[in-house]
Assembly symmetry: none
Homo-oligomer: 207 residues x 4
């Protein structure tokens, strides 16, 4: 029994990490499928196959799982966004790259959801924002503010600006996934043009 001391990543450790991850994965799906408000802790643990009580060995509540997922998302997207910022000194370029990244992630989440709910006519249920999206938003917001602070963006009310950009892209994303086929490029083009030039700079037409 004592040779377990040599194995810091023994079975127990593995199980612990695996269970935590299983709960996070289940929660991600459930938040996406049922919405954060509507879903219950039971919905989450049911999908893991674990026992009800086990949930509380890892998280104290649904809120905590949401936060953990958001953290995960931030950890994943933080570096990506940093790279985008580094690679795009121009504010417009950065904006376009960041918006594309977000919309593509959103589209991929939608596809995952569609695959898992084939019987559901696409778009009938309004899918809420996932914790990851939330995290991406926060990161983008920081990036926008940093860009403006660095003089790469316009000298204006950065709070209003970041809010305007974020909300616009989020909602355009919502419309985008309800269309068939989902066209992330067109959506990104629209959002970028709107942010940079307002209605005067918008791409013309579209049936």
């Amino acid at each position: 029994m004592s040779n377990l001391a040599y194995l810091p990543a023994g079975k127990r450790e593995q199980t612990k990490v695996q269970n935590r991850q299983a709960i996070l994965d289940a929660a991600r799906e459930v938040f996406s499928d049922l919405g954060y408000e509507a879903c219950t802790v039971r919905d989450i643990i049911r999908r893991t196959g674990l026992a009800a009580g086990t949930f509380y060995n890892y998280f104290r509540s649904k809120e905590e799982v949401f936060s953990a997922l958001a953290d995960e998302g931030a950890k994943r997207f933080g570096p990506i966004l940093k790279a985008i910022r580094a690679a795009n000194p121009d504010f417009g370029d950065f904006l376009r790259a960041a918006i594309r990244a977000y919309l593509q992630y959103r589209a991929s989440e939608h596809m995952r959801w569609l695959a898992a709910n084939p019987q559901d006519p696409a778009g009938l249920r309004v899918q809420g924002e996932t914790p990851e999206m939330h995290a991406v938003f926060l990161e983008v917001r920081d990036a926008i503010e940093a860009a403006i602070a660095a003089g790469k963006g316009p000298a204006t009310d950065t709070d209003y600006l970041a809010t305007a950009c974020i909300s616009m892209v989020r909602e355009i994303g919502g419309v985008m996934i309800r269309r068939e086929p989902v066209d992330t490029e067109a959506a990104a083009d629209f959002a970028v043009a709107m942010i940079l030039g307002g209605v005067r700079g918008l791409p013309a037409v579209k049936p």
Copy 2:
């Protein structure tokens, strides 16, 4: 025996109207405080001081109360928006007037809420969108689409455009009411500039 006889002015009718209004008021507050999804019928009825069963004499569900509130809002703002549309043939002028109207309404609702919740440090709780705001949004959206269809706005993806304008103004409104003092003019200026000219057209400075 007077000609007022056909008006439901008895004590009973009075109480009925009062109770209905009490429930609507309570629901407005609760939706605003806890959010539509999170709150329960109990939360609403508790705040009225009425008996639990009384709720169901007036509404069948939380949804129905929401609709009633939204109807109220639409009834109030429909005419105002129509007047704005009629008085402002220019798209930019219309936009500015409509945005001002919405932001002023939102600010007034916030004041009302602050007055009713003096103990609550302003901004601690994030107030969600009320049904009335929702109604106003729908009206504004229609107006934007009509303006674009009438050639007064740019020929572009009207769905994206309306969504972008609406969401941007909504969120800017959210930021606006968290500031002290609330400055609807500045917020409206920002939103209009952003919509019309994008970042390039934004008003400079910021305290």
Copy 3:
């Protein structure tokens, strides 16, 4: 105003009687349609068009309405049964006539129900016994006991005998109305034969 004194059956009196009757009629229907246990006082008064409170001016509860209906039934069937007893000195004849009367009443109630519920596949819902049927049962039971006491029936355990006859006819009635077409004669023949001669005396065959 004083000439109302001459009219003991004035408007008030009439309304009183009419309302009471309206409630009884509604209750009869509701008991028959939904069953005594399942239906509520609300169901009854809703069908009258009267106000909820009015119910309690006439009856204290659902139970009391049931009793009143049973009394009504007893009042209507008492004389009929008495006539049957008088006209049929022979126990078998009396039995046959009484059973026929009951089964015909039951069939007619069923027809009324079918007419009122055309969309309902006949027989899907098991219709409970109405208060009238209950009353008829009690009367028949008395009649049987009286017949036996008078020496027209067999000298045996009258309690068991009445119970046996009553329950048998009631259940046969239940089967009868589930058949298509409803044949009260055949059912009555079977019941009488069974009571008088047991399985040995039963009418042969039947597909």
Copy 4:
């Protein structure tokens, strides 16, 4: 480590079985005391002393408890009836044995109830039919129909016949247990005589 290891004999399993049984026992009592229609899930769970939610760990509804009880009854009586059928090729003999079995069971259930409700003057409340009795009825009905189909009974309307026998014995059972002392033999004799020979074949006398 013994071969008993595969039996669910832990404390948890024990409690589970006990709770399930406690609910079934409570339900049996409640069905018997208040009647199936009138009683509620609350009535059942209240009598167990368990928490409200616990009921739903075992059954989904009142209906499901009823079914479980009926199954229990059927499981116990199925084999007994089969044995009776096998041992009594004569229809009359079979009938007598089956009726005896049922009435004895009913009497024993009544005794159990009396023992558990000493304060209740026997017979004050009319005990309804329990799910077990219902199950026994269904079994007996099958047996009668099989006997008739096999030519051991009279060639007549089997549906009417089975219904008549079943209902008669049930109600005679109801009268029987209200008497003091309970005499299952006399009741069985009466029922059999009535079924086989009708009023002409009934046992004479009666105290």
